[in-house]
Amino acid sequence: MQYRTLAIPNPRRLIYGWSPRPVRCGFDLAIGGGLVFPEVNFTLPAIEIRRDTWHEVMAHYEEMASQVLRRAVALQAPGIVLEFELLPPMTSTPEWGAEITLLLHRHLAEAYERHGLRGALRVTPVDLREQTKPPALREGGPWDILKRSFEVCIEAGADIISIESVGGKELHDRALMYADMNGIAFALGVLAPRDIAWLWERIAGLCQSGGHAVPGGDSACGFANTAMQLAHQKMLPEVLAAVVRAMSAPRSLAAFEHGAAGPSKDCAYEGPVIKAITGCPISMEGKSATCAHFSPVGNIAAGVCDLWSNESVQNVRLLSGNAPEAYTELLAYDCRLMNVAASKGQALLLRDWLSESDEDLSPQAAVLSPAATFRIARAIVAADTPYGRTIAAGMAAVAELRERIAAGRLKLSPQEIEWLGRIENQLRALPPDEEELRSEIQERYPGVFAPASYGWPPAPVLVAAGAAG
């Protein structure tokens, strides 16, 4: 299935808390059905995860779950999503991930039974498949373990399944450092969508075959968020990170074309474009995720969200309690304001305030504005292939940034403006045929990706005859 039109064609209908295709899951929770809910994500403090420390690990999760839900009940949150992002050892030993899933599910069940707190548990295993070089994505140990992790976590009570998939990242990491738009376009527009199509058909199949989990969504975290953070550190141009953000949307959209139903992953800042195209609910993070990282999109990220997340916070002690429950409170108040505004018919006004407070202050925010979201979304659905869509999204972002600069709304340094020109020139020069680009990329980045990982036959091995014996 390929999206050819926008599920939300009217920009005034792209608002927080409402999606044409809401997701019902967990303990009577309807996501995208009119309310925004907090999505609380928590993790361990510095501790080695081993068999002999496992009881401490479990004690942390016990403490975090009980405190987060207690605070949510105290604040009369209308609902909550807990997100459990597995750490690598919890994925590589699938039973460990399942044990924590079971624990969190039990807490959510108790909160629902005792207090009527609606809730759901999102479980996100780590994509372990990049362990080898080049990554073997479709076969071998890492995929088998990852698949097992999905299976046992679904059995243990996961309500939403997500992943930050890594297909194409092996090339993108290198190309990004050189601002090589050919490499970036091939990674995001060819490799990643091919991997996502394969992976999400399997994830959706696993969700259907057991348990009650819904296939949530993917995230371009390892691609566009990496670029955003490096731009924040002045390592990369901000305009590059903004264009990469737009170009990452088609790869995350591919998950929805191959089984995902939402809510998308919180760190997928490309979510608004996904929501406009698919009509599925999205999770976003911004100003209340400062525990995890800097963000130039703190307010605007909330504008069209259906879940509002803190990204990740360690279980460390603060004056008001432990950090996870403190961040639960932050999110709960953010959501209260949004939900009350919506109940007064003012969701659109609040969305626009959230957007306008950020959108002229950074390129990253500019491409998340409702106007840019629709421009990018329309460009994507008008193109035929993931590769074509990726280039179209990049060009739409460039056009959006250029217009804002020309209007004097977005003020950038001469270096940034020069880089925007370089990026545009590279995008314009990309070959229309992805096979032509593939040959060029394989020559420029020899051995960086394994063709078999993306469904192509392995590269031929040439053997000289006559030398044996």
């Binding site: 403090p45 510095a46 995860i49 362990q131 450092m177 601002a179 990369l236």
Partner: protein
């Protein structure tokens, strides 16, 4: 010709840098002087532009690539010793951590700075670090981590290096959750919170004795 070589490196044009280096050699330029008077000053200017915010990492890496292309022409003609790398580095992301963008960036900048880099990848066990140190005999061992929960693996790795009797190598650590204090606690010889600082510190470590933790973090 030589000013053109300087410009080619500054602009990150590897093809032109290699052609100009070959032409200069063919026309009788002294290889040592080409390196010390044109090529290294070009990279120094690249570093200054990066620190001023005039250059981003892509320009830094492209210039490093141009420098390498020119060096490949010149190096065989240099006197013995002058062709040695600036130092040898074994680098990797510690066990349990799959994040590698920061580590890759440090590795690329080190290579651009003339270091020979052996990249062990991600999720590297202490025993693999020990094995690599025994095989490669590096001057520097660089450990990276992004996750707070993988910080203890840095200590475990340093302990393993100590037990294996290869503790004499300088080693430093980096990554988002790492602090100078933590680096001191686990007995690292250096610490950097950013990639360019890591390269600067590597140079310093190679030039000086390392009886204190150099700090290249931002103020």
């Amino acid at each position: 010709m030589s000013d053109l070589l300087y410009d080619a490196i500054l602009k990150g044009d590897a093809t032109t840098a290699a052609i100009l280096a070959r032409q200069a050699i063919d026309q009788g330029s002294a290889p040592g002087q080409m390196v010390t008077r044109r090529m290294i000053p070009a990279m120094d200017e690249v570093g200054r532009r990066f620190e001023r915010g005039d250059y981003f990492v892509p320009e830094l890496l492209l210039s490093g690539r141009a420098m390498k292309a020119a060096l490949n022409i010149v190096r065989p003609l240099l006197a013995s010793g002058a062709a040695e790398p600036a130092g040898k580095v074994v680098i990797g992301t510690v066990q349990g951590d799959l994040h590698d963008i920061g580590k890759n960036l440090v590795a690329a900048l080190l290579e651009g700075g003339g270091f020979q880099v052996h990249d062990l990848g991600v999720d590297v066990s202490p025993s693999r670090f020990v094995e690599a140190v025994q095989q490669k005999a590096p001057d520097i061992v660089a450990l990276s981590a992004l996750l707070t929960v993988t910080l203890p693996a840095m200590r475990t790795t340093l302990d393993a290096l100590g037990r294996a009797g290869v503790r004499e190598q300088v080693r430093w650590v980096g990554g988002a959750p790492v602090t100078r204090q933590y680096a001191e606690e686990i007995g690292a010889d250096g610490y950097s919170d950013n990639a360019f600082g890591a390269v600067r510190m590597a140079r310093t470590l190679m030039e000086n004795s390392c009886d204190a933790i150099p700090n290249s973090s931002h103020p």
